[in-house]
Subunit: 581 residues, 2 copies
């Protein structure tokens, strides 16, 4: 028996039921190929991001199994690949750093708890349909935040690349600490790191064309090029083993435990939960925004859609599963999802196969990782995150809008100077404040009739006809509390400038809404104009605004009238002032 719709709406929907029943052999083949490529790409990435988060490398593998399975059940994107990602790993490190020492079991336990809290919040936001909250992260804030995070991450990896120890809570401290360590640079480590970095940069641009030149088909060349990072890992690990680099002081990944993800529980510590609440919320929102924008872009390419509120549920389930299988906060990653899509993944089953691939790696591959130089992983991260840094955005935003530029710069500088959480919070606050400021001073103009037409235009920009006794005004914005008094002031000014005025007509074609404060201001304007013997009229009031006004005293008490069009207003009032239009 189907559930009544109200009740059904409360249950999580299961997109898996939709695609699983139509699953066939062709889809299986596509998904398997995509899964293989993504698995190869994901292994070094998940190790590296776990290290970035301050966790043992195997935790990266654990976080790439259960979340993929859960996303396959609840997610609405066909191709999103969920797992550890750079920015969320950085935010994780920043959040846990205050509560435990990196590398300790206590640190891992806090990471698990953070994934649990983040998962619970995402799930709750999904059930309450609060996905729209993520919209308050404006694009300048996100791009400033991502660029600054990329710089922070790259700076944090330089110490591994240089073979030194250097800590810092922000970009300046980090760079300063690195400069102090310059004399202690470990030459071999730096050489391996720089070569790996150079190779990985070249792989991004040069490997595929090379393969194509060697006669491979484009698609195969593309797939092989994706394995470039694995080649860097294999080669440097092989060299470290044969040349015994460890004896020369080069740091290796070392022994990584073999086996399936463990079953774990978050810490039930209310004080810790309170302390982690804000970071968990920020991680949830950032992860959600990154995931949804990737998912939407890819879905649109095949005329599919994703359901943001359902995505919250899916990401929530993924993070909860990460918490119960020894992982840390995860989300849908940009690069790997694009790879999954390009490799031809048709359904989330590709994610299931990827999870199986990672499971096999965790079971059998970890001994081979012993000889992997940490500098190679650092190079992997640096190459990945520098593609996130887009400082050209600063100039483009400056040209487009100064207010957006201020929000971008504030987020960027604050993230670099005070860390990820301060950067995000300040960025959102600044962008909201700027939006409010902008809407609090809408564009206002005195307008006049363009000769020979029925159109009214700004008297300052156009040659138009006006009358000292009938003043036409236009406001370009909804009227609400922050700009209501601005309108009052402006009308006062206009009256002072037009001592002969008998009628003032306000053209409301751009007024999408009027709130109680604005209504009060309109009443005050009408009363004051009336006191000075001027009639106040409105024109071109929109349907929904008129619906709202019609039940109020304002329309009944209005000294003037409400006209359908501004031209009609001027036409009908002209005889009263003894003037032709």
């Amino acid at each position: 028996m189907p559930l009544p719709p109200r009740l059904a709406g409360l249950l999580p929907s299961l997109p898996v039921l939709d695609w699983a029943r139509r699953y066939d052999r062709a889809t299986l083949a596509s998904d398997l190929v995509a899964a293989l490529i993504v698995t190869i790409m994901l292994i070094p990435q998940s190790l590296a991001y776990a290290l970035l988060a301050g966790l043992p490398p195997e935790v990266g593998l654990y976080a790439s199994v259960a979340p993929l399975l859960l996303y396959a059940i609840f997610g609405t994107s066909r191709v999103l690949a969920v797992g550890p990602v750079a920015v969320v790993s950085l935010m994780t490190a920043a959040a846990i750093g205050e509560h435990a020492v990196a590398g300790t079991p206590a640190y891992w336990a806090v990471a698990i708890t953070l994934a649990f809290l983040s998962g619970a919040m995402l799930l709750l936001m999904g059930f309450l349909r609060l996905g729209f909250l993520a919209n308050f992260l404006s694009h300048p804030v996100i791009s400033g935040f991502i660029s600054a995070s990329g710089l922070l991450i790259a700076a944090s990896q330089l110490k591994t690349l240089m073979g030194v120890k250097a800590e810092g809570h922000n970009f300046i401290e980090l760079v300063h600490a690195l400069m102090l360590q310059a004399p202690n640079i470990h030459g071999l480590t730096l050489a391996v790191g720089l070569l790996a970095t150079a190779f990985l940069f070249w792989v991004r641009k040069g490997l595929k064309p090379l393969f194509v030149k060697l006669g491979l088909k484009a698609r195969l060349a593309d797939a092989l090029a994706k394995a470039g990072p694995v080649a860097a890992i294999a080669v440097t690990a092989g060299l470290a083993w044969t040349l015994d680099w460890q004896a020369q002081g080069l740091k290796l990944v070392g022994s990584v435990p073999q086996g399936l993800p463990p079953l774990t529980l978050p810490l039930w510590d209310l004080a810790l939960w309170q302390a982690l609440a804000v970071p968990a919320l920020l991680i949830s929102v950032v992860g959600f925004v990154e995931s949804v924008s990737v998912g939407q872009t890819l879905a649109a390419k095949r005329r599919q859609r994703i359901e943001p509120d359902q995505e919250l549920v899916a990401l929530g389930a993924s993070n909860l599963s990460a918490a119960f299988t020894g992982g840390f906060p995860v989300t849908g990653g940009f690069a790997r999802s694009v790879v999954n899509f390009d490799a031809g993944a048709q359904t989330p089953a590709a994610g299931v196969y990827t999870a199986l691939g990672i499971m096999l790696a965790a079971l059998f591959l970890t001994p081979a990782l012993y000889y992997l130089p940490q500098a190679t992983l650092a190079a992997t991260i640096i190459v990945a995150v520098l593609s996130l840094v887009d400082l050209g955005m600063l100039k483009r935003t400056w040209v487009f809008s100064k207010t957006d530029f201020i929000a971008l710069l504030a987020t960027l500088l604050m993230t670099l100077a005070r860390g990820v959480e301060a950067g995000l919070v300040v960025g959102v606050a600044v962008s909201l404040a700027l939006f409010l400021y902008r809407t609090s001073r809408p564009h206002m103009a005195e307008v006049g009739l363009v000769p020979g037409t029925q159109h009214f235009r700004n008297v300052l920009r156009h040659q138009v006809g006006t009358s000292p006794r009938l003043v036409s005004l236009r406001i370009d914005g909804s009227l609400y509390f922050a700009n209501a008094r601005v309108l009052e002031d402006w009308v006062n000014d206009v009256v002072a400038e037009h001592p002969q005025a008998q009628h003032i007509v306000l053209q409301c074609s751009a007024v999408n809404d009027i709130d109680a404060s604005a209504l009060e201001s309109l009443e005050a304007i009408d009363r004051r104009l009336c006191d000075s013997g001027i009639a106040f009229h409105l024109s071109e009031v929109k349907g929904p605004v008129m619906d709202r006004l019609k039940d109020t005293h304002f329309l009944r008490d209005l000294s003037g009238r409400v006209f359908l069009s501004h031209y009609q207003a001027v036409h009908e009032l002209a005889p009263e002032i003894g003037q032709a239009v």
Copy 2:
């Protein structure tokens, strides 16, 4: 030599220079009459409001001298009467209560410091032209706050009326404490208080008609009626003296020091300043809003104007002068300014004469105040503040707009439950959040052509012509970060519903602004539509928005075109889809 304009703009302007040079005998007469009436009204009010603020009664007189003089020099309103007012006195009591015990010299010193900080802030806001910040106090927040303050003040005066002691930090605590004190009511005090209250209520409505009936001219009757409170004071003080009510336990005002306002200095205590910063800011903003709205209303009646940023300077100077002459925070009062206006005040010189009147009262009248029952002053306050309480506003706001109602109710309840500061802060936060929420989901509609016209209307509301291959959309709101993704989602939905769509045209007539996030969303929409083989067009883009777009990649990369009118778009695209309009 005149100052260069840039430099002159930095100096405070002196409106006094404008009106003083045209001062004549007729103006003098008008101003003197008005000053007499306002002085008579102000004496009991300033005593009462000082008591409300927890200060000795004479402080009310001190706060009514220097501020009036300073406002006369710097203020732009011709008739505003500055001095202690009810709501600001309540806020003063709430702010100082945490730092000193009412009635002690330390308490007075903190009040002086609060006036100093508030004055400095107002002055700074004036120089920085930050008057617009007051606009973020929406009308529902102000009216909820004023009504709740009125109830709080009235409740706080009931103990004086009942002759008992009762303290409480909020409305519920106060009412509870009063109920516990019911058995201890002092009968004589309650009788005097209730009779005075009843008399004062009657004075408001019944006294003027009575005088008129007795044959007085309307204007004289009006002026005499204003003296009603003075009559209540004289009669009860006289009775207290002749019948020796003090011996029967009735509380009198007692000895009030005779003399001019003293010279005082604020406390130079940085920790105290920090603690008082937020209350001082709130007092400044509330005082400014009250003052400016009164000033604007009265100025408009004579086709005069006030300059809000200059008002900040004037109120700042007034409060600083209060701090240096033993006063407490002041602002332009509603009732007394209206009285000043009605009595015919022509220039701020009326304020100077009022200040002289109050000075005379402080010099010679205070001994006569000894026998004044405190219950009479409590009655004066109760009658004054109950006129501020307007609970009918709740219903009117509910009918007009649910979001405004929520902001109003939140402010009202929060002020009653947690005090004036919490009420204001929560009210502003709630109203901003609701505004952002509302603008984050603008009205969006699929539109179609109204047959026989060039107009497009919502397909859900009107019988219009549409095509499955050319979809017309309209959004009623500016595009910014909080709603940009909503537009993306909506266009995705529309595409899913119109599998045959080849063209989508977005009508932008209501889009007053587009920010960087919205631009990014438009680009994403265009890219995704392009990937699905759909061309994306815009129509009726406003001039300023077009100015902003024309320097961007968006217009160059746009798959479709930008049309001047929506009709033109449909007309020109019709051949491409093989269909007539």
